[in-house]
Symmetry: C2
Amino acid sequence: MTSTEKASVCVLGTGLIGGSLLRAAVGAGYDAWGYNRSPAGAQAAQADGFDVTEELPTALTRAAAADALIVLAVPMPAVGHLLSAVATFAPDCDLTDVVSVKAPVAEAVRKEGLSARYVGGHPMAGTAESGWGATDSDLFLDAVWAVGVDEGTHVEPWTRVVRLALDCGSVVVPVVAAEHDRAVARISHLPHVLAEALALAGASGGELALGLAAGSFRDGTRVAGTAPDLVRAICEPNSDALLAVLEETLTVLGAARDSLRANNSLADLVAAGHDARQRYETARRWEITDIRPGDHNWLANLRDAGQRGGVITRPA
Amino acid sequence: MTSTEKASVCVLGTGLIGGSLLRAAVGAGYDAWGYNRSPAGAQAAQADGFDVTEELPTALTRAAAADALIVLAVPMPAVGHLLSAVATFAPDCDLTDVVSVKAPVAEAVRKEGLSARYVGGHPMAGTAESGWGATDSDLFLDAVWAVGVDEGTHVEPWTRVVRLALDCGSVVVPVVAAEHDRAVARISHLPHVLAEALALAGASGGELALGLAAGSFRDGTRVAGTAPDLVRAICEPNSDALLAVLEETLTVLGAARDSLRANNSLADLVAAGHDARQRYETARRWEITDIRPGDHNWLANLRDAGQRGGVITRPA
């Protein structure tokens, strides 16, 4: 495929993730434009030379005419409103999203009757910043981009979404919605919750404690700097999975407390935690090469490969 | 003072902190040498041109002859053995330490009858690495170095310890042992405990979760990469203070769990955590300029200044 054959891309929401995606897509040669609800955000993008409107119908009518891939790039609470507009103005467009949870988006898509054209996505990238001012065309470089392989997924939207993720510099992890949501509760939403709690514990120590804080506190609380509304929009729609892992963590921490109190020992926690961090550091991705979209059982085979650490690094 | 007037320094233990201190002191023009228990560690330092012996009496006899400032730079469990040797071979030397807790070291020093010459210290610097191979003469640059102002502290060892910390590129926070230990439980030991628990939660999600993990998990688990024995040696001697803040954090996390379950809301945790992180980011040190060692109430005044975010940036 040459760059002229790339599908058009319509990005709805040009904050940190959507705006960075617009930059990356344009940089990769896509015909891409965007919509942003806030005039200030749209104007900031326009000032940087990007084609971003504040008029949702305008962006979507153009998407329908160009057979564009539409990307929902807003926090979960704003997804329903956008989907209703997509159903009105561009119901036949391929559709994906970059929202932090997948099952609730899939359910909202289903309610609008758009499931046949939809493939969920989630680039595992971000910073504590937000808004167009924080956008970066390299945000997705060497990142992992989860792409849905749920039952019923159609080949065409799937290959387009994978292609876009790869063209933005990411590798693709195939995953079904429910497993994605349970995994990100562990590696993205729980880190937010613990960072907030750690920040609170530090600040409760006053100026002295904050003045002595160094690397471990700085790194451990970094994501507590994220805007509160955004943290809630990321974590709360995944409350079932987050509750389960939070409960698990309360049990682990409670056991550590008991062991420290009874035996002055953190041996079990520290041994297990160090081993877990080693598993993370030594985890190696491997390339999925033998599964083609549309093959018999391709979705189940991709799901299985993703569970075992497989990634897609090249277009099918 | 010119560099030729600087006191000699004898560093006991040349791991990450002690070895970096030896490098920094030599770089700042001190006549400095070290002792390391492990022959491999001592030889690695020698190979880099540093004067490090495996013979503790040799290092200490030289310290006594040179009226050196002795620095204990070993984990808490090894402190008692070193102090007993100091009492035998160099009982009249000024003495400090860079151990992660202060009250237990002060108590061990008292048992050896060395309190009059002792001032506790703790540079708030480190990495997840350990051993001579990880040492760095710039480790203390722009770091905060806690220096004891406990009742009974004598001027001379105090000024020498402060001078050494400043010459290594740090600023000095004056603090008494018990308050130091409570503060580091919040900003150093709790971060270790939470990092271990987070690493465990991530690894329990298998290859898929670890494969999707990005910045928030990487940063939140970084210190779980520290050697388990070292984490235990840092945290367990401070168990009273750590237990108190761990209990506090279990309460905060339990309330967040309850709120998420009952109202699908993390509003309270996220608002408070974000506010706390803002307090950390906007905390500004101010320079203590008007308190001279030996002045009436100098220890109490320094303690009070340290509690309010004051730091010492220049020798008295």
